[in-house]
């Protein structure tokens, strides 16, 4: 219960009128940017990072918390109101959510998404507060070899387990590690891959890399393939839920939370798999309820079932909280959003690593408390504001993407007030566009840029102790266990992906079939 006391202190530090204002601004900005089509949560946070440059760390964290949950919620609003999901985590929400919106139940879909996100986010944050400190106590004992193994695990899993093509994942990973090399070697002070350019000697600013790859890359890619007719926006009123909606939503929220949290904490877990599992579970439970002729059972899957929004949305938010466990306890980011947040911490001179929780404990507790506050504010502010957000989806595309370009350049320029950074942003933007063209996943690259230097430090630390004998890398039981897990996952991967691809295509095909049937019935 000591943890709850610390969380209480964190709440005390976070709950001042000024800080609440920062949290509210963060939630509003985050939702605003997250709602815009084409912008996912990671990109929203990357774009808004510069806003926090001038703030004190505590206030910046509070604003991050707001940006984070706001950006996530904005993303799900978009996928419910437009029939095209922006990112893999909201594919499942979009399936039933857009059907609900077209059946005139968009308000209920938005409400169950918002309240479900709140429930899952709150439970998730409390779980982080329970688990992260315990893990951090163990983490400080982890030696350099095991920590190195952990990073190898995170990188290889992200590169090979997620996405359709392991080869492309690895390419992206190596490219990211190469980008991470640029700058002075930390031990000997010799420049590497700097081409004699002075601005490159101090290492690349991660904000410029992230904004370039996520924001500018996406904007350029969209520009190359702009849909001439923007997707149609479903009309929406004030979000609210009837008695029946509550009754049908609360169980999927809790089940979604149970799926989401552990997956979020795993390397290469992310939100994709738990949202999918939650969707499949809710669908089969609904079918079974009808088959057993339970009085209150309803199977509306394929026509806009509220369970199909409530479950995946909760899973999505719970996994977003789960990813904080490795990030705070081990300093290991496992998702794009976590890596952008961690790079923001580096901006305050906080080094990622197992010592994060012990050396900056007060800051971590403030962050956790701010997440709870941000979550609550999100619910309070966004339920009434939803119709306004829906209107954002109608912004004409030229101005929308011009705005993204504008803020991306502003962010890059504000990092060092050097036009060179805008040029660098352009380089990474073009790289980001090429990656989207060639189907190279973005996440392994970003993780490679952030974890590469840390990996090298740990590797050299380990080998200096052993006097250059590589056997030290597998000298600790934990390191051996991690490599064993990695080998197991790589062996099981083909089976896993085949099962998933089959079930997923089946689900999507059935949903589309039901959709065409219901459309045909309307005509």
């Amino acid at each position: 219960m000591e943890n709850l006391g610390l969380l209480w202190d964190g709440l005390g530090a976070a709950l001042t009128p000024m800080n609440l204002l920062y949290a509210a601004v963060g939630v509003l900005l985050g939702t605003f940017v997250g709602v815009l089509p084409g912008i996912g949560p990671a990109m929203a946070i990357a774009l808004l990072l510069p806003v926090t440059f001038g703030l004190e760390p505590t206030q910046a964290f509070i604003m991050f918390a707001g940006l984070y949950y706001g950006g996530m919620y904005g993303g799900s609003t978009t996928s419910i109101l437009l029939n095209t999901p922006g990112e893999s985590a909201s594919v499942m929400t979009a399936l039933e959510g857009s059907l609900m919106a077209r059946a005139g139940r968009g308000a209920q879909a938005l409400a169950t998404a918002a309240i479900g996100s709140f429930v899952a986010g709150t439970i998730g944050t409390l779980l982080v507060a329970m688990f992260a400190p315990a893990l951090a106590d163990v983490a400080v004992e982890i030696g350099a070899p095991s920590y190195f193994a952990l990073m190898v695990l995170a990188l290889v899993m992200t590169a090979t387990v997620l996405g359709a093509s392991p080869l492309r994942g690895l390419l992206s990973l190596f490219l990211g590690l190469t980008i991470g090399l640029v700058g002075l070697d930390l031990n000997t002070g010799q420049p590497r891959l700097t081409f004699g350019v002075t601005q490159l000697v101090d290492r690349l600013d991660i904000v410029v890399v992230a904004v370039g790859i996520f924001a500018l890359g996406e904007a350029l890619w969209v520009a190359a393939h702009l849909r001439r007719k923007p997707a149609s926006v479903a009309p929406v009123g004030q979000p609210w839920m009837g008695r029946d909606d509550w009754r049908r939503s609360w169980k999927p929220w809790l089940r979604g939370t149970v799926y989401g949290f552990p997956f979020g904490a795993l390397p290469a877990g992310g939100a994709e798999l738990p949202t999918f599992l939650s969707y499949v579970t809710e669908r089969s439970l609904a079918k079974r309820g009808v088959a057993r002729r339970r009085a209150d059972a309803k199977d509306e899957f394929g026509q806009g079932a509220i369970e199909g929004v409530a479950g995946p949305e909760a899973a999505n938010n719970a996994s977003a909280a789960g990813m904080l466990v490795p990030m705070l306890a081990l300093g290991l980011p496992v998702t794009a959003t976590a890596s952008v947040m961690l790079s923001a911490l580096q901006g305050y001179g906080i080094q990622p690593g197992p010592q994060l929780m012990t050396e900056h404990a007060d800051m971590v507790w403030t962050l956790l408390a701010s997440l709870l506050i941000g979550n609550l504010l999100l619910l309070v502010l966004n339920l009434p504001l939803a119709p306004l957000w829906a209107r954002l989806l109608r912004i004409p595309r030229p101005q929308l993407y011009a705005g993204i370009l504008f803020f991306a350049c502003l962010g890059a320029y504000a990092t060092n007030l050097d036009p060179f950074d805008i040029a660098l942003l352009l380089v990474f933007g073009l790289l980001g566009m090429a990656m989207r063209r060639f189907g190279l996943p973005v996440l392994p690259l970003i993780l490679g840029v952030i974890l590469g230097p840390l990996m090298e430090t740990k590797l050299r630390e380990a080998l200096t102790i052993s006097g250059g004998d590589p056997a030290i890398l597998w000298s600790e039981p934990l390191a051996i266990a991690i490599y064993a897990v990695l080998a197991l996952v790589l062996l099981a991967r083909p089976l896993l992906s085949r099962w998933r691809a089959r079930t997923e295509s089946q689900v999507v095909a059935e949903a589309h079939e039901a959709e065409t049937v219901s459309e045909g019935a309307q005509r």
Binding site: T178, A224, R227, R228, Y413, F438
Partner: protein
């Protein structure tokens, strides 16, 4: 590589898609060059004393990894592996790429790089917004310039006054 996306047999009915994505050879070549350069660059570094690993090992491994994976990509390309371009809300991957628009956008950003120190953010930002909107097909130039000016002047004040980050005033020094 059984998980690779294989070429669809009947992707587009009226114009059969080429079996091999030739541009992927270009990507493989560029990545191969980057990997090779990483190794060459690392070879010029000096290894210090009391540092059994030195600054060279890590770049050697990464460069070699990049070289190997890009060769594998070239092989996979020859065997018909095609990328899965990223979809999105506003993306229509069935249309051919619109390069003139991308080039115009790149030009607008380069213009910003060249002029931001002299013009200052308030003006360069406004030109950036209006130029990018024009490149993307907007034809309401006056409105775009006005919106751009509001955004740029607003963000200048927001950063300088609100956040204490001194963005350059440029030629408007003393006016803003």
């Amino acid at each position: 590589m059984s998980a690779e996306t294989e070429a669809p047999d009947a992707g587009a009915p009226d114009q059969p898609a080429p079996r091999v994505d030739a541009a992927q050879y270009g990507l493989a070549a560029v990545l191969l060059a980057v990997g090779a350069y990483t190794v060459v660059d690392a070879a010029t570094l000096e290894v210090g004393f009391a540092d059994p690993v030195g600054p060279r090992v890590f770049p050697f491994v990464i460069g070699a990894g990049l070289v190997v994976t890009s060769v594998l990509l070239a092989v996979a390309t020859a065997r018909g592996s095609r990328p899965e371009p990223e979809a999105g809300e506003d993306v229509d991957v069935t249309t051919p790429a619109d390069w003139p628009t991308v080039l115009k956008l790149v030009g607008v950003i380069l213009l910003t790089v060249a002029t931001v120190s002299w013009l200052g953010w308030a003006l360069a930002g406004a030109i950036l917004f209006a130029g990018a909107a024009w490149a993307l097909g907007s034809r309401t130039l006056i409105r775009d310039v006005l919106v751009g000016l509001v955004l740029a002047v607003g963000s200048w004040y927001g950063f300088v006054v609100g956040l204490g980050i001194p963005l350059t005033p440029g030629v408007l020094d003393g006016i803003l």
